[in-house]
């Protein structure tokens, strides 16, 4: 595999660090949720780390990213400050959306990170529009839009695929197929479960990849971006993956067998990538321990940051309904 050859020790370690950060950040978030520090809906990305990390590492700073409400991992992979993410989930005004959004609405315009969108498929048209703007402005950036397989059943998915192909705009559609739309299995929601085949209906090049394998994702996304840049066309990448935890913290997981979850855990992307790095001598066991320690310290710092954050004065309640600038 080409990517394996190219991956150097420093980059390999950085990617492993990101996946471990996401995994542990989510575990900590769940813990904080049970302590009622985080409220509302909390959707954890555990198990799907290779997708966000694999895709986002290939993007440039100018590329736009839009995500679903299961987006902590993407924000972390994008380099949004973990402290600001945790503070956002606490609802503190030091959060990346000033506490107004919470877990489902992480935004960081300085990183071209556009949410945190919680209406399934509602952000797909936005991504097409952002790519259309880039084309009109003759910019060279790509807009990358993550969504689940549940979104692919929505009308907006089909409208967006059609528009993107019709207008020939640089969008990378990344479907994170984790097999369940909340609690409803893909076999109950899609007549055609090989989702990548839906690309052909719009003349969009598409591929499916093992989303539990970071290297596979990296290779697939590299090809996707090359196609987008060379042909100026959208691309549809399906990453087949699995969430190890419940849909949200309210979910009793009545719809799937524990044994199924255990089977998928054997495909855990983190140990898999770790073993690869060890085997290729791109990392040492000692270094892994150091990374884990550093991640734990970073997460602890984010908790302290969030704890020490401040509540916005209720007098400011109606801020950000309309802009504070007169014109644009």
């Amino acid at each position: 595999m080409e990517k394996k050859k190219k991956l150097d020790s420093k980059e390999g370690q950085r990617l492993l660090q990101q996946m471990i950060l996401i995994r542990r950040f989510e575990e900590k978030s769940a813990e904080e949720y049970t302590k009622s520090k985080i409220r509302g809906f909390l959707h954890l990305y555990t198990g799907e780390e290779a997708v966000a990390v694999g895709v986002i590492q290939a993007l440039t700073e100018e590329d736009n990213i839009l995500c679903t409400y299961r987006e902590h991992g993407h924000a972390l992979a994008r380099g949004v400050d973990p402290n600001a993410i945790m503070a956002e989930m606490y609802g503190k005004q030091e959060g990346c959306s000033k506490g107004r959004g919470g877990s489902m609405h992480l935004f960081d315009a300085s990183k071209n990170f556009f949410g945190g969108n919680a209406i399934v498929s509602g952000h797909l048209p936005l991504s097409v529009g952002m790519a259309l703007a880039a084309k009109k402005q003759k910019k060279n950036n790509v807009t990358c839009c993550f969504f689940g397989e549940g979104a692919a059943a929505e009308g907006e998915f089909h409208e967006s695929m059609n528009l993107a192909a019709l207008w020939q705009v640089p969008v990378l559609f990344v479907c994170e197929n984790n097999l369940y739309a909340m609690g409803t299995a893909i076999k109950l929601t899609h007549s055609m479960q090989q989702l990548e085949k839906k690309g052909a209906a719009y003349g969009i090049e598409a591929a499916a990849v093992d989303g539990m394998d970071l290297l596979e994702v990296m290779e697939a996304v590299e090809k996707a971006l090359k196609t987008i840049k060379e042909k100026g066309q959208p691309y549809f990448l399906v990453c087949n993956t699995y969430r190890f935890r419940a849909h949200s913290m309210f979910d009793a997981e009545l719809y799937r067998e524990k044994s199924e979850v255990e089977e998928w855990k054997k495909k855990d992307p983190i140990p898999k990538f770790q073993e690869f790095l060890l085997k290729e001598k791109l990392i040492t066991a000692k270094k892994i321990t150091e990374i884990e320690k550093a991640v734990d310290a970073q997460i602890q710092e984010s908790i302290e940051f969030a704890e020490n954050g401040t509540w916005e004065d209720a007098e400011n309640l109606t801020r950000f309904v309309y802009s504070e600038t007169e014109s644009i």
């Binding site: 736009n64 959060g95 990346c96 959306s97 000033k98 506490g99 107004r100 959004g101 609405h105 935004f107 960081d108 315009a109 556009f114 949410g115 945190g116 969108n117 209406i119 509602g122 952000h123 797909l124 048209p125 936005l126 991504s127 097409v128 529009g129 952002m130 790519a131 259309l132 703007a133 880039a134 009109k136 402005q137 009308g155 907006e156 409208e159 967006s160 059609n162 528009l163 019709l166 801020r319 950000f320 309904v321 309309y322 802009s323 504070e324 600038t325 007169e326 014109s327 644009i328």
Partner: protein, 328 residues
Amino acid sequence: MSDMIKITYREAIKQSIRDVMQKDERVFLMGEDVGNYGGAFAVSKGLLKEFGAERIMDVPLSESGFTGAGIGAALAGMKPIVEVMTVNFSLLAMDQIFNNAATLLHMSGGQLNVPVVIRMGCGIGRQLAAQHSHSWEPFFAHVPGLIVLSVGTHEDARGMLISAMESPDPVIIFEYTFMLNMEKEIPADSGAVEIKKAKVLREGKDISLITYGAGVYKCLEAAEALGQEGIDAEVIDLRVLRPMDEETFLNSVKKTNRALIVEEAWRSVSISSEVISRIMEKAFFDLDGPVERLCGVEVPIPYPKHLEDASVPQVSDILDKVKKMLKP
């Protein structure tokens, strides 16, 4: 005082579109049939030839998709004018307008502006029956984050869009298809208009007729007729349905001590409901009698002309109602 010119409502809107297209390269018009067809109501006729297909974009029948794309393009630095052919089809785009355009500034803690303008034809009067005759201004006026304008006069047809294009926040503009062919005189140098305030179109001392949209010319006509009978009616065009300018109509009611609200939308939970509530809250003790209203009858709009006419207030209804209120 500048010269007056005769202009149709359609031509006034078209000139406003030309003005903003010429002024700002970031502006483009997207909508169903806006290009090759010349606009479903011929509003954009000739603009494709003048500005080219990049800036006058025909779109597929995907209201949610293209409205969302307009919002996305606005997020990415463009200034799109999205034409939803008529309000009747806007429900298909409601998710984009309510859940994205109206919320992104807030959810992102003030980071993201959505400078999109969404125009749509609306209203009754062409015998188009139940699915093509809607007056849904109240739906949109319900939503914080949107600016909702109603084009009740030719001067506003000429100027509202120009001003709306300067807004950093999403603007919905309601145009009245029934008025497209109507010809009126406006100053030759008409252009940008103020879009924060209601407007007193006719001063009077006996009663305030408060209206918007298709009710404006009806109220002005009624006021002239009432003048012949010695009743001096003040006519207020609300113009901005959100955020509503209450100062103008409260001042009027404090002067005339009587108010009649006229609108074509269905009576329950309407613009008039809101106007009356505010009069009760803030001008109750200035009233000499109960505030009354004439609204759309609560029925899906029927096809036959006589029943359609009976579904909304007519000039004769306004005359009768005012006389009853003043000379019981």
